[in-house]
Symmetry: C2
Subunit: 160 residues, 2 copies
DNA sequence: CGGATCATAGTGCATATGCACGCATCGCCC
DNA sequence: GGGCGATGCGTGCATATGCACTATGATCCG
């Protein structure tokens, strides 16, 4: 069969769907970061998570989820592999027995510093690929539109 | 504890990370579509998948993955729930025993038609939220930047 | 004090994502 | 026609995502 023949009726997968377009680009861009971070055995989601713990004593799970703008239960599971390798720790709050504080371990901080340059490589690759000014325009849009949509699972709060 | 106090050092979860910004907006926007499609028990990923099967006799799995710009193995698994409910079918190609053709069942086509208006609601909501011209600008960027990045798992092909 | 209510976190379930690997088949070439 | 590399697919593994539900602890109020 001819490997390059176009599909009869199905060409553009995304059509006019904003969501599919977003997901598609996100998939490709995520791969850039994940490949770049693979030498340190870290994914971009994890790098982002660790970044948010820098310089913080301990953050309640819900608050970290808010900060990351992600579902609290998603965060709980995303923490699991990081707990296993000992890059983060989870300890009960002395003030409130319900609260569990997430904190960066020394090892985690070290790993973050090691990962940082790899992340910068990925970010630089993206910048070079689409151009600095175009990237700035994209960032502006992404940042501007996020607050217009409902946050995941009752988060929100902190306007900035 | 004060529920609205800002986190000491961790404010913006995404910082300057293009990937995190993309993933964040994608999460929020996906929720809009998934909520809108929930009455028909469909997710936006599935809606997009079914859309690509409209008017097609049967598409090899790999080619459909290319069209959707998604990893072939991801598609294989995304097909599973649709196979179970009978909206798509998978049959061996008469020409090549290796190839499995994905096709939309009559039920699946019917479900797609039913879902279409719900998808339109979501798309309309997004349009109204960020504005038609802004959305057009976003689409332009998303479409323009996708081909600049390596496709997932050796896909690509179709420049169109 | 004690119960209703609220807040915080984890789990079960289901899907989404992609890499590494293995299996079967196809085409080609001798 | 018997290899042999290439091709098409599926699976195992691990993470990412979010909804519904549960369990536990804090708070308020009579």
């Amino acid at each position: 069969m001819s490997p390059t023949a176009p599909i009869p009726a199905a060409r553009s997968a995304v059509g006019g769907c904003t969501c599919s377009k977003l997901r598609r680009l996100t998939r490709r861009v995520t791969a850039v970061y994940d490949r770049a971070l693979s030498p340190v055995g870290m994914r971009v989601t994890q790098y982002s998570l660790l970044s948010n713990l820098r310089g913080v004593e301990g953050v309640p799970v819900s608050r970290l989820a808010q900060s990351l703008d992600m579902d609290r239960t998603t965060l709980t599971r995303n923490l699991k592999p990081l707990l296993q390798v000992g890059w983060v720790a989870l300890e009960p709050s002395p003030d409130d027995a319900r609260v569990r504080l997430v904190l960066l371990t020394p090892t985690g901080a070290e790993q973050w510093r090691a990962a940082r340059s790899y992340w910068q490589s990925a970010q630089q690759e993206v910048t070079a690929t689409i151009g600095a000014s175009a990237l700035a325009g994209l960032h502006t849009m992404l940042d501007e539109y996020v607050p217009l949509f409902r946050p995941v699972t009752g988060n929100e709060g902190e306007p900035e």
